[in-house]
C-alpha cells in the first residue's frame, strides 16, 4: 500500500464517518420527535402505530442510504 493509498483510505474513513454522524443525528432527532409526540403530545391510536412503523422503516431506509452513499464515496475518492 502506497502513501497515497493510505491517505485516500483515511479520507474515505473520515467522509464516511461524517456521513454516518449526519444520518445518525437526523434519525435520532426524528426518533425523539416521534417519541415526544406520543408521550407528551397526545398522539395515540392508529396514528401512533403508523408513526411507529414509519420510524422502523425509516431506520431501514437510512441504513440502506448510508450503504449506497458510502459506496459512492469509496468510488469517487479512489478514482
Amino acid at each position: 500500500m502506497t502513501l497515497r493509498d493510505v491517505r485516500s483510505e483515511d479520507v474515505i474513513f473520515r467522509k464516511k464517518l461524517r456521513l454516518g454522524l449526519v444520518l445518525a443525528v437526523a434519525y435520532t432527532l426524528m426518533y425523539y420527535i416521534y417519541f415526544t409526540s406520543i408521550v407528551y403530545g397526545g398522539v395515540k391510536g392508529g396514528i401512533a402505530v403508523y408513526l411507529s412503523l414509519a420510524i422502523i422503516l425509516l431506520g431501514m431506509f437510512f441504513v440502506w442510504l448510508y450503504h449506497v452513499l458510502c459506496k459512492k464515496i469509496e468510488r469517487e475518492v479512489r478514482v
Binding site: 454522524l21 444520518l23 435520532t28
Partner: protein
C-alpha cells in the same frame, strides 16, 4: 372482539410434534457444530471465526443473535398486553441500530478478538482492561438471564416439559456448540436461526392480516381501532377500545420511565459485547458495513412483524393472562393450529440457543483475553493451550447461565433485556467513544472511571428500582439509563476538558 380460543388446550401440555421439530432443529445445530469443529485450529478461528465470514452471512448472524427470545416472545407479549407501551420496545430495539452507521467500521478497525479490544486498542492500562472485562461479563449475565428464563418457560408451557429441564437442555446444547467450535459454529447456528425466526414472524404477521384485514395491514389496523380490546393488568383483563388500547401509559404511567428506557435502547444496541464481536468476524470494513445493512433489513422486518403479532394476539385474545411471553406461540396455535404452534415453539426454543451461544462467546473472550491475558498478564505456552482455557471458560459460563436461568424463574424477559441495554450504554459506550474518537484527548484513568461510574451506578439503581424492590423502591424509574448514561459521559467530558 373476543374469541372462543381455548389457551389451556395448548399451555402446559405435552406436544410430541413440537418436540420432534425441536429435535430436528437441534440435529441441524449439532451437525453445523460437527462441521465447524474441523475448521477451528487457531485461537482466531475460535474467537472470531478467523475473520473470514462474509457480510451477508455475518449480517444474518447478527440478526439471528439480536432476534432473541426476548424480542419474539417478550415484545410481542408486551404489545398484546399493554399496546403502545409494548410497541416502544420494538421501535427502540431497531432505532439503536442507527449508531452502527458511526461505529461499525471503526469497531472493525479497532477490534481483534473481543469487544474489550475496541476499548483497549487505545487504552491498554490495567484498570481499563479489568473494568472492560467486568462490564462485558455483567452485560452478558443480564442479557443471558432472560434468555434462559425464556427457555424454561417455553419448555414448560409449550413443549410440556419441566422448566428446569428446558433450561438444562438449552444450556447443554449451548455448551456443546460454544466449547467445540466457538465462533464458527455460533455464526452458522445464528445464520440458520435468523431465517427460521424471520419466517415464523412473517408467517404470523401475514396470517393476522389475512384473518383480520383481508390481507391488508391498513384494513387490519382500521379493524383494530374500531374493536373492543382488553388490556391485561395484574393477570386480569380490563376492557377498553382500540384507541384506548393504543394510548400510552398502560405499562409505564411515568413518562420519564419511557424516556429512560428509550435512551438505554438507542445507545445500548451498539454497546452490547455479543453484537460487537460479530463485527470482528468479517475480513474488512466494507464487509462490516454490509453486515449492518443485511442485519438491519432483517431486524426491521422482524420488529414490524412483532407489532402486528402483538396486536393480533390482543384482538383475538390468544393471551395467557399470567404469562405475557406466550402470546405469539398461542397466536400461532390460533391461526395455524397444531403444526404452526409446534413450528413456532420449536423455533423459539432453538432461537435461544443461538443468542446464548453468542453471549457465551463474549463472556469466554472477556474472561480469557481481557481478564487473564491483558489484565493479569497470563501467557499461554501455545495456542492450543489457550484454546483449552477458552473452551473451559465457555463451559463455566454455560453452567453459570443454567444456574441463573433456574434462579430467575418468572421474570418478564423483554424487561430484563432493557436493563442489560442500560448497563451496556452506561459502561461500555463511554469507553468505546473515548477509544475510537477521543484518543489522546482524555487519559486512561478517566476512561476507566467513566466506565466504572456507569457500571456501578446502573447496577445500584437497578437494585433500588421497582424492578427489584417493588413498591418500596427508592429509585422511581424501572430503567436507570436516563441517570447513568449522562453520569458516565459527564465524567468523560470532565476528563476531556481537564486535559485541555
Amino acid at each position: 372482539m373476543s374469541s372462543t380460543f381455548n389457551v389451556e388446550k395448548f399451555v402446559g401440555q405435552f406436544k410430541p410434534l413440537s418436540l420432534i421439530l425441536f429435535a430436528l432443529f437441534t440435529a441441524i445445530a449439532l451437525w453445523i457444530t460437527y462441521w465447524s469443529a474441523k475448521r477451528v485450529r487457531e485461537v482466531s478461528h475460535y474467537y472470531v471465526a478467523g475473520a473470514r465470514i462474509s457480510g451477508f452471512v455475518n449480517g444474518m448472524a447478527i440478526a439471528g443473535d439480536y432476534m432473541s427470545a426476548a424480542s419474539f416472545l417478550g415484545v410481542a407479549g408486551l404489545v398484546s398486553f399493554f399496546g403502545l407501551d409494548g410497541i416502544y420496545y420494538a421501535v427502540g430495539f431497531l432505532a439503536g441500530w442507527i449508531l452502527a452507521l458511526v461505529l461499525a467500521e471503526a469497531v472493525r478497525r479497532a477490534g481483534r478478538y473481543t469487544a474489550g479490544d475496541i476499548v483497549t486498542s487505545t487504552y491498554a492500562a490495567k484498570d481499563v482492561t479489568i473494568i472492560v472485562a467486568i462490564a462485558t461479563i455483567c452485560i452478558s449475565v443480564f442479557y443471558t438471564i432472560p434468555q434462559m428464563v425464556g427457555a424454561g418457560s417455553i419448555a414448560q408451557a409449550l413443549l410440556g416439559i419441566p422448566y428446569e429441564l428446558g433450561v438444562l437442555i438449552i444450556g447443554t446444547l449451548v455448551i456443546i456448540i460454544v466449547a467445540t467450535a466457538g465462533m464458527v459454529s455460533t455464526t452458522f447456528v445464528q445464520f440458520v436461526k435468523a431465517f427460521l425466526i424471520l419466517a415464523a414472524g412473517v408467517i404470523l404477521m401475514i396470517s393476522a392480516w389475512i384473518l383480520l384485514g383481508n390481507g391488508s395491514p391498513i384494513e387490519f389496523l382500521s379493524k383494530f381501532i374500531g374493536s373492543e380490546v382488553s388490556i391485561v393488568k395484574a393477570g386480569k383483563s380490563v376492557e377498553t377500545t382500540g384507541i384506548g388500547f393504543l394510548s400510552p401509559g398502560h405499562r409505564f404511567p411515568n413518562p420519564m420511565d419511557i424516556i429512560s428506557l428509550s435512551l438505554a435502547l438507542v445507545l445500548g444496541t451498539m454497546s452490547l459485547p455479543h453484537i460487537l464481536i460479530r463485527y470482528l468476524t468479517v475480513p474488512n470494513v466494507v464487509e462490516a458495513r454490509r453486515s449492518t445493512l443485511f442485519a438491519v433489513l432483517a431486524i426491521g422486518t422482524f420488529y414490524v412483524a412483532t407489532i402486528f403479532i402483538g396486536l393480533a394476539a390482543a384482538i383475538l385474545d390468544t393471551r395467557y393472562y399470567t404469562n405475557s411471553n406466550l402470546s405469539a406461540p398461542l397466536l400461532a396455535a390460533y391461526v395455524g393450529s397444531e403444526p404452526l404452534f409446534a413450528y413456532v415453539s420449536a423455533v423459539t426454543f432453538i432461537v435461544i440457543v443461538g443468542t446464548v451461544a453468542g453471549l457465551m462467546m463474549a463472556t469466554a473472550g472477556a474472561l480469557v483475553r481481557d481478564l487473564l491475558v491483558k489484565s493479569f498478564n497470563m501467557r499461554f505456552e501455545s495456542e492450543k493451550r489457550e484454546l483449552i482455557i477458552a473452551r473451559g471458560a465457555a463451559i463455566a459460563a454455560g453452567i453459570f447461565a443454567m444456574v441463573m436461568g433456574i434462579l430467575a424463574r418468572g421474570m418478564n424477559v423483554a424487561f430484563l433485556v432493557g436493563l442489560a441495554f442500560a448497563i451496556a450504554s452506561s459502561s461500555f459506550l463511554p469507553g468505546m467513544i473515548a477509544s475510537l474518537f477521543l484518543k489522546n484527548r482524555v487519559n486512561s484513568k478517566i476512561v476507566a472511571l467513566s466506565m466504572l461510574v456507569g457500571l456501578v451506578s446502573s447496577i445500584i439503581l437497578i437494585l433500588l428500582s421497582p424492578t427489584v424492590m417493588g413498591k418500596a423502591a427508592i429509585f422511581p424509574l424501572s430503567n436507570p439509563g436516563i441517570v447513568t448514561i449522562p453520569l458516565a459521559f459527564t465524567v468523560l467530558g470532565i476528563g476531556v476538558v481537564g486535559k485541555k
